[in-house]
Subunit: 252 residues, 2 copies
DNA sequence: TAGTGGTCTAGACCACAGT
DNA sequence: CTGTGGTCTAGACCACTAT
């Protein structure tokens, strides 16, 4: 028949809409198997590519997930609540506890992999840290996993000269982490700025976070300032958007 | 030839990668026209559907935008900086200025459409506002546009009983907006909470924000509390993620 | 009108999962 | 094994844009 055939809206959209409605009414719950390509071809008398396209709509909206050789399944959404302000209270990281242990109340969020390096920073970060051109930064790359599933990548940038000789350049930064160590050398962070963006992930992020198609990432750039107003750390984070709700409390 | 043919990675991914590299090196700048389906078919000796798939990768990542009958073009990214804390300083909205006028420094962000209604709220919002079951809320739906392009939808929910008879139920809330009017009736908001999520847009959001494929939305739910700790307003916002950077400053 | 992207067909081979 | 989704082909008609 070529093009649209019967209705005025594309077949694949009609099929996608029908599937979405079935999910919304609870006919298919989180984790349930949806009709696959062959089912849709038979049920709607369309070609494989058309059935695929319908499924593609749900995938792009993050509603469904295709597992090769197994089928198409309804996605689940159970985010962690990340409190932007309280979690950085000095009382918490000042003595012992990691900044991250509060992230997932009762859940099992843990450090998955760490690497430390010294590199030449991108211009934007270099100028934030107030470093001279060509000055190296200490880079701490980390990945966090929730119940075994990776949910966040974090990369901290610090003046390499400033932190040389401290535990910040070690894999294990010790009790209280980076901020406690910075305090010990007279650069205790007291003020923070978090900048938030969102976009679709780059292939490398898709890979490192095992993201299914249709899941955006949230980017947080946190800059930590000392009492004097100097930026001592820039932490670039990449979050699986389906894993997080960010919360900020403030009294302007 | 069937399946993968030459290399070990799919043809469409190789083609997509090549296009992305060309964008990254600046060969194609923002707004430039990219090779279209026909160009890619000729250049790589592939079928139309394969060329389409390659372009689909760039669209899904938000890098390119297809305009029917015209071609495929490199997307632009020029976000507004939205300061979460300072923008709510009472000094700003206390006398006259709108909370929103600060959003876009020098840009032309303006209210695009407003509607006011009284409805029965969803359970989550009803309980946030501490209302009895079945109690109605005053709903203010607004859309904001930046240089004519819609970038945000906002829906405020307030206790209908509380705001009855005030300008909050009018299209024009008067100088200082909702928060100034709440102050006048003894419910001045002093504390705010913003919760942030991100996901792919629903079709209705895609439509109202004119979003190209591959653009996530950012959801902000702001709850405004009085000195007594009562929630007086819940504002649900839907932002075009490519139009915004959110900024939060705090001293924990 | 010529060219573009949007949609669609009816086949095909492959890698992978569980059935 | 069978069935699944992933990839690919070589055609086709349509609506839309720009000339």
């Amino acid at each position: 028949m070529g093009s649209q055939g019967g209705g005025r809206q594309p077949k694949y959209q009609r099929i996608a809409l029908e599937l979405k409605a079935a999910i919304e009414t609870g006919e298919y719950g989180p984790g349930d198997r949806l009709p696959g390509e062959n089912d849709l071809m038979a049920a709607h008398a369309v070609a494989r590519m058309t059935a695929r396209q319908a499924i593609g709509v749900l995938r792009a909206e993050g509603l469904a997930e295709a597992r090769k050789g197994a089928g198409v399944f309804v996605r689940e959404y159970r985010p962690i609540r990340r409190r932007g302000v309280q979690r950085l209270s000095a009382g918490l990281w000042g003595e012992g506890r990691s900044v991250w242990s509060m992230d997932a109340e009762g859940w099992d969020l843990k450090l998955d992999s760490v690497s430390v390096a010294e590199e030449s920073p991108p211009e934007a970060i270099r100028s934030l840290l107030g470093l001279a051109e060509g000055a190296p930064v200490c880079l701490r790359r980390r990945r966090y996993a929730l119940n075994g599933r990776p949910v966040m990548l974090a990369t901290s940038h610090l003046d390499a000269g400033l932190v040389a000789g401290t535990a910040i350049t070690e894999i294990d930064t010790g009790p209280g982490g980076i901020y406690a160590r910075l305090g010990e050398i007279g650069h205790r962070p007291v003020r923070f700025r978090e900048e938030i963006r969102s976009r679709m992930p780059a292939p490398l992020e898709t890979d490192r976070l095992s993201l299914p198609a249709g899941t955006p990432v949230v980017l947080i750039r946190r800059t930590a300032f000392t009492e004097e107003g100097t930026a001592v750390e820039v932490n670039d984070m990449v979050l699986d958007s389906s894993a997080y709700i960010l919360e900020y409390d403030f009294t302007p």
